[in-house]
């Protein structure tokens, strides 16, 4: 129920204009959790603010809950305070001069719709209970902990029962344990309320765990859009592969491409069989990417498998859940995550298997913006 078409937003940079949002188009279906994921400066927050009405885009069209709230061709612009949205800010933006109750009641007091004081009381109470903050109504907002303030911001955003919920990196100021908990709570809340949600973050774990759809952004464009699984397992560019999780990459030349999508790539560590991520021409330079957790390390040479490389263990780090090893193969180093039961030591000779189904060949250093 959010539709964005060819959105453009430019800012005046030091020397020239910067296109913070460069022809971005996407659609969030009703009741779904859609995340804009990307590094700082990729334009995700600016896009969110354009949808909220806090920034005025330069071109394009934005539709929220069936109504056009911005259209450059029609010259329409609905200011933020008239859009049917609820928004949670990165800094929470809790008003320090008001109590918890008054913070949540604020949207009910100022909007076009007027509510009686009984109604306000019951709505505020309901909203606070939704975020498990019932009973704290009379506290001054400044007397809350970080986690409580975040929940207060959420209650305030939901009290009007808006059609759309916008969240701008709401968990970034919380400590790790609290963040883990809030991820689950937020997702459950969204599911229960079935509210269309647009979420902005740079944290890929948040994006992967909470979203129905992720749009990875870089330098003002959407580089890839898909479900968490798709984004993780089938990245279309090096950027996406490297931004989500970690990857190894080996560059080489595409020697052959079979009809069933299997390819053969000539690299300096040997010939690798792999799948292809996107359109690649035979003979072009490609990068083969594989995630560390998909790499299999054998202490004895395995037989019969493809993509077996011989190497030596360079470092081993015990991270509790798994072993983080780096293996030297020729002049290259590959990262591998291995179960902690595997006994490896520095200098051990090992055989590294790169299962072809987990390897993907893609254009080397494709500039972001060419794939969507």
């Amino acid at each position: 129920m959010i539709e964005v078409k060819s959105l453009v937003k430019t800012f005046a940079g030091r020397e020239e204009q910067v296109r913070a949002v460069n022809e971005v188009s996407f659609r969030v279906d009703e009741g779904r959790f859609y995340t804009l994921l990307g590094p700082s400066g990729c334009g995700k927050t600016t896009t969110l603010r354009c949808i909220a009405g806090l920034e005025r885009p330069d071109a394009g069209e934005v539709e929220v809950a069936g109504d056009i709230v911005f259209s450059s061709s029609k010259g329409a612009f609905v200011p933020a305070y008239r859009r049917p949205i609820g928004m949670v800010f990165q800094s929470y933006a809790i008003w320090p001069h008001l109590t918890v109750f008054e913070n949540v009641a604020f949207p009910l007091r100022v909007g076009k719709q007027r509510f009686g004081s009984q109604e306000i009381q019951s709505k505020v109470r309901k909203a606070l209970e939704l975020v498990e903050m019932g009973g704290l109504e009379d506290r001054m907002a400044t007397q809350l902990s970080g986690g409580q303030q975040q929940r207060l911001a959420l209650a305030r955003a939901l009290v009007r029962e808006p059609k759309v919920l916008l969240l701008d990196e709401p968990l970034s100021n919380l400590d790790a344990k609290l963040r883990e908990r809030m991820r689950v709570e937020l997702r459950e809340l969204q599911r229960r309320l079935r509210i269309t949600t647009l979420y902005v973050t740079h944290d890929q774990i948040e994006a992967l765990s909470m979203s129905n759809v992720i749009a990875v952004m870089s330098a003002g464009v959407i580089v890839q859009e898909g479900s968490p699984r798709e984004i993780y397992m089938h990245p279309k560019t090096q950027f996406v592969a490297q931004f989500i999780g970690s990857t190894n990459q080996v560059v080489g030349r595409l020697r052959a491409l079979r009809g069933d999508g299997c390819a053969s790539v000539e690299t300096d560590v040997g010939e690798l069989s792999c799948g292809v991520a996107n359109e690649v021409a035979v003979g072009s330079q490609v990068a083969v990417v594989i995630r560390p957790e998909d790499v299999v390390v054998h202490t004895k040479k395995p037989s019969g498998a493809l993509n077996i490389l011989e190497g030596k263990v360079a470092t081993v780090m015990f991270l509790g859940e798994y072993l983080d090893c780096s293996i030297e193969i020729g002049a290259r180093t590959l990262q591998a995550h291995q179960p902690r039961s595997l006994e490896l030591r520095r200098g051990d000779p090992v055989w590294v298997e790169l299962p072809p189904s987990q390897c993907l060949a893609m254009h080397e250093r494709l500039p972001p913006g060419r794939e969507a």
Binding site: T10, F11, A12, Q17, A52, G53, L54, R56, D58, S72, G75, F77, P79, A80, Y81, R82, I85, G86, M87, F89, Q90, S91, A93, W95, P96, H97, F106, P107, V110, G111, K112, M140, T142, A153, R156, A157, R160, L166
Partner: protein, 576 residues
């Protein structure tokens, strides 16, 4: 960041004029131009006009000739220079020594001294001058009488009605300002710079001379400069002491041009323009020098305590200095004022005088209509100018720092223009403006309100800007995202969060408006007289003890209203 002005935006902007978020800055700019620029423009124009026949004006340079090529020009210039230079030097000396003793040495009881040193700020300049006349007048000044009695002198040792007297009186009023500025400078000195000098073998005295004083030079230069400019612009001391002593400075000449019959507006305006240019140059130099001074700034993120100089036995000398300063310079004027207010006529202290003490002056004042009227005017004007000034500057500060409108930096510049305008010049400019203008406010308190608000906008801006900058923009955006229109956001979120700065600014403007003299002296007439003018005229008429009583009542009223406002703002849920 500001949005790019695409050509499309301008076409869009016409219907936007109905949006209050854009109307307000336009109105704000209009108001500032009306208040800050228009009077100066009229002043400039008026300096070139001369009345050749009733209501017939021609453009001429005659005014400038009369102002700067008359037989008095040299003596006025000389007096102004000596007055300003001597006063800034003396003030700086006191301020720096006191600040050094308090911040950088181990003088006993120095912490107590800080609030005491700042107390003279509530004493209006006119009262300060009158109190020192009581003390140092050659004919009946208490200090002179006491010294003559104690040492059997033939003639009074001090004469306040001299350039030296003017310098002294003006300096003691300015010392709190210099003190505070030098305290700030001392507080921000990094001790390791001096410690490394000592580790390199320098003695205490050598360190002081080669390191400490050198580090202080930029700040000292700018403090001296601002003191010089402020003295040049002041009129309280030149009016009460200079005029009776026939020592005329720049500001006295402007006043005299106005108060002669018929008033020579042309010459006054020409003089005022010259003073304005000098003042603007001084302020410009000051802002440049403080920027240069940043090079010597040694404040890092880490907190540190500046090194204390151990004065050894000499610290008792410092203590005595502080005590003597407080007793003679701060307390004595108060006491003499209080004493005189209970006397029917001015007399030296004696058993005879003690018996004559009474509340007669106060009783007289309560029935004295001009006093009640002037008190009412002063209070109303001070309250209104503080309120109007703070509301105006809050809106302007919001526009400058919060709205992302192009050109809002111009409002910031306009708001600080009045700081270069000496009080008496503003008075002159407003006379010229409203005599020509069809608005019939000349001679009423409304022109005084306009004058005070104009003068104190820069100070209000400083408080308002400080507060506005602390309001995170997301707090206002969250209000918008929650459904509040621009006006609802401003009223429910921005204004409440501005309160601490608003209160601080309000109190400051109230105090300085209540004390104001150099602008009021030209504008306040008859019905619109304020207390400082009443003091001036009654003192000139010789009713000195009644004047002392007025002075005491002024101080009490000032303290009462400030305390009341502070209390009231606390009750309305202010969270500081």
């Amino acid at each position: 960041m500001s949005t790019i002005a695409l050509s499309r935006t301008f076409r869009d902007s016409v219907p936007l004029l109905r949006d209050p978020a854009l109307l307000v800055p336009l109105v704000g700019a209009g108001v500032l131009i009306y208040l800050a620029i228009l009077p100066l423009f009229m002043l400039f124009l008026g300096s070139f006009e001369a009345e050749v026949a009733p209501r017939e004006f021609v453009y001429t340079l005659k005014n400038y000739q009369a102002a700067y090529a008359s037989q008095y020009t040299y003596s006025t210039f000389r007096n102004s220079l000596i007055f300003a230079a001597g006063s800034s030097a003396l003030t700086f000396f006191f301020g720096a020594v006191l600040a050094w003793l308090v911040e950088r040495t181990n003088t006993p009881l120095r912490i107590v001294f800080i609030p005491l040193a700042v107390v003279p700020l509530i004493l209006p300049g006119v009262l300060e001058a009158i109190a020192w006349i009581f003390l140092l007048s050659p004919k009946f000044g208490y200090i002179n009488m006491a010294l003559m009695y104690l040492f059997g002198l033939e003639s009074p040792p001090f004469n306040v009605f001299s350039l030296a007297g003017m310098i002294w009186v003006h300096s003691v009023g300015q010392v709190p300002l210099a003190f505070l500025m030098m305290v700030a400078a001392f507080k921000s000195m990094d001790p390791s710079l001096e410690e490394s000098a000592m580790m390199s073998g320098a003695s205490t005295w050598q360190t002081l001379r080669r390191v400490t004083l050198r580090l202080l030079m930029p700040t000292s230069a700018s403090v001296l400069l601002i003191l010089f400019v402020r003295t040049l612009e002041s009129f309280e001391t030149p009016a009460l002491i200079g005029i009776p002593a026939r020592i005329y400075v720049y500001t006295s000449e402007i006043y005299l041009a106005f108060s002669e019959y018929p008033p020579d507006y042309g010459r006054g305006a020409a003089l005022a323009v010259g003073l304005l240019v000098l003042s603007a140059a001084g302020v410009w130099l000051y802002t440049r020098s403080t920027r240069e001074g940043k090079r010597f700034e040694t404040v890092t993120g880490k907190a540190f305590r500046p090194r204390q100089f151990d004065l050894g036995a000499w610290r008792w000398v410092g203590f005595v200095f502080l005590m003597v300063y407080f007793l003679i310079v701060v307390l004595l004027p108060f006491l003499v004022m209080l004493w005189a207010s209970f006397l029917p006529f001015f007399a030296t202290p004696s058993w005879d005088a003690l018996q004559k003490l009474s509340f007669e002056n106060y009783q007289y004042l309560f029935g004295f209509r001009p006093f009640r009227h002037a008190m009412w005017n002063s209070i109303i004007l001070a309250v209104m100018s503080a309120s109007v000034g703070m509301v105006l500057t809050s809106v302007i500060a919001w526009i400058v720092y919060k709205s992302r409108l192009p050109g809002s930096w111009m409002l910031d510049f306009l708001a600080f223009v009045p700081i270069t305008v000496p009080g008496i010049v503003l008075g002159m400019a407003l006379i010229l403006l409203y005599v020509a203008f069809p608005l019939p406010i000349y001679g009423t308190i409304w022109v005084l309100l306009i004058a005070y608000v104009t003068r104190y906008i820069p100070y209000g801006m400083r408080s308002a800007s400080g507060s506005i900058l602390q309001i995170h923009s997301e707090l206002e955006e969250a209000a918008g995202a929650s459904g509040a229109s621009w006006w609802q956001t401003f009223w429910r979120v921005t204004l409440p969060l501005l309160r601490p700065g608003f209160v601080a600014g309000w109190i400051y403007i109230f105090i300085v408006s209540f004390r104001e003299f150099s602008t009021s002296v030209l504008l306040a007439t008859g019905e619109s007289r304020v207390l400082s003018i009443l003091l001036f005229t009654m003192f000139e008429q010789g009713q000195v003890t009644v004047v002392a009583a007025i002075g005491i009542l002024m101080i009490l009223t000032l303290l009462a209203i400030v305390a009341l406002f502070y209390k009231l703002s606390g009750r309305v849920g202010l969270q500081t």
